[in-house]
Structures are given as structure tokens and as C-alpha cells.
């Protein structure tokens, strides 16, 4: 072996000096990383929903003609597509949020920890109930 004959060059041992370069696209490397980033990106769509809601409030405040224009804007195919994508992300947010709920709140009953599945189940039941109540307020023909 030729390498062994070369003069050895030593580096002092400084573990903290070593940082391997991480690509900007590290989150594309594995599915769990991508899932993490998609979950975090859902927040952008939460903000988009707030914007749509505030535009609706503004249109309602300005009168029936402004509101009709707002309703036509919502029918624009690009906006519909964006809202379809938004629905995917806000449901992703809700599902991932409820699934980690047992880790955020460790509920105890008679000294025993309530099983995770019950807490997740209670969250989904509450989600369904809240959705029904809101739909009852909003669906009026």
C-alpha cells in the first residue's frame, strides 16, 4: 500500500468543529422528513383561509353587490383549485394535531393514564360535533 508510507498528518480532536453539510433539500430524502415539512407548511394554508374569511367579512360589510362579487371570485377555477389544496392541508393539520394530542395531554383517571386511543377518539368526536354545529349555522338556503 502506497498510502501508508506517506507522512501522517494529524488533526487535533475537536468533535465540535465537525459539521457535515446538510443539503437545503434534506426534507426530500425520506418520507418522514417530507411528512414533517408538509405538516409545517399547512400553516401557510391556515393563513390563506384567514385571508379568505376576512375578505368575506369585508365584502359583507360593503353590501350585497360587493358580496356577489366576492362569491364570483370564489368561483374562479384557480381559487377553487387553491381551496382544494388548502382543504387537503387543513385536514392534514387537524389529523396530525389530534394524533399527537395524547402526548400533549396525559390525562389520568383514578390514578391510571387514560389510553391514547381514547384521547384521540375524544378529539375526533369533538371535531365532528364542532363541525356539525358550525355547518348548522352556515348552511341556510
Amino acid at each position: 500500500m502506497t498510502e501508508t508510507r506517506q507522512p501522517a498528518r494529524y488533526t487535533e480532536y475537536h468533535p465540535r468543529w465537525y459539521r457535515s453539510r446538510v443539503s437545503t433539500w434534506w426534507w426530500l430524502a425520506r418520507w418522514p422528513y417530507l411528512k414533517f415539512i408538509l405538516r409545517e407548511i399547512s400553516s401557510v394554508f391556515v393563513a390563506w383561509f384567514v385571508l379568505v374569511l376576512l375578505l368575506q367579512i369585508r365584502a359583507l360589510s360593503r353590501g350585497s353587490e360587493a358580496y356577489a362579487a366576492f362569491e364570483r371570485w370564489l368561483q374562479n377555477p384557480l381559487i377553487v383549485l387553491l381551496n382544494l389544496i388548502t382543504l387537503f392541508f387543513v385536514v392534514l393539520h387537524a389529523v396530525t394535531w389530534f394524533n399527537v394530542a395524547p402526548r400533549a395531554m396525559a390525562v389520568r383517571f383514578r390514578g391510571k393514564r387514560v389510553p391514547d386511543l381514547w384521547i384521540v377518539g375524544a378529539n375526533y368526536a369533538a371535531w365532528a360535533a364542532v363541525s356539525l354545529v358550525l355547518a348548522w349555522f352556515l348552511v341556510r338556503s
Binding site: S43, V52, Q56, V80, T86, W97, A135, S141
Partner: protein, 117 residues
């Protein structure tokens, strides 16, 4: 970066907004963004919605939703940019843009709802 002492408050807002958003935004978005515009479900009329938003409780609800959801976005998006793009030298700018955006949105929501006629 912010002072350490701000972090618990910002995290609490993020968390509260996350809960609020998870429970109510999917149904709101499904109805407002898809079911009504596409005619799957008849849309509520202007008069009805206007009367609904005139109720102080409804306006308080919309305000709380906007405020908390925007701070939820600010916190989560800030860390997504920190982690995802590795642009440490821009951290202060990201911080200002995220929370500044959330504050502006909250003020706009307050203005619209307070002056709702």
C-alpha cells in the same frame, strides 16, 4: 432571535391557534371554499350572513379565530424557514416578517369587525 422570555408566550399562541384551527377551519373551508361556490350545497344568502356577522358573539369568534390562527402560522412558518432553508443570517428578518404579518392581520381583522356595518 427573540429574547428567550418571549418564547413561552409565542408557543402558547401557536398551540392555541393550532387547536382552534384544527377544530373549525376544515368545515369552514369546505363550505366557503368548495361546497358553496361549486353549488354542492346551496349557499347562505347575503341577508342571513350579514345578520349573523352583526351578532357581537359571532364577530368575537371570527376575531379570535383570525388572531390565534395567524399567530399559529407565524410561529410554525418561522421554524419551517429556520429548519428548512438554513438561512441563519436572515433569522431576525424572518422573525419580524412572520410576527409582523400576524400583527397586521390581527389589526385588520379587528378594524373590519369593529367597523362592521
Amino acid at each position: 432571535m427573540a429574547k428567550q422570555s418571549n418564547e413561552p408566550v409565542l408557543w402558547a399562541l401557536f398551540s392555541a391557534g393550532g387547536v382552534f384551527a384544527a377544530f373549525v377551519i376544515p368545515v369552514h373551508l369546505f363550505l366557503l371554499g368548495l361546497a358553496f361556490p361549486l353549488g354542492w350545497i346551496p349557499a347562505p344568502g347575503y341577508e342571513y350572513l350579514h345578520a349573523l356577522v352583526r351578532l357581537p358573539l359571532a364577530r368575537l369568534y371570527v376575531f379570535a379565530l383570525c388572531f390565534l390562527a395567524l399567530f399559529h402560522w407565524a410561529h410554525r412558518f418561522r421554524y419551517t424557514l429556520y429548519d428548512g432553508l438554513q438561512i441563519k443570517h436572515l433569522n431576525e428578518l424572518i422573525f419580524s416578517c412572520c410576527y409582523g404579518g400576524a400583527i397586521l392581520g390581527t389589526v385588520w381583522a379587528g378594524y373590519l369587525l369593529w367597523n362592521f356595518r
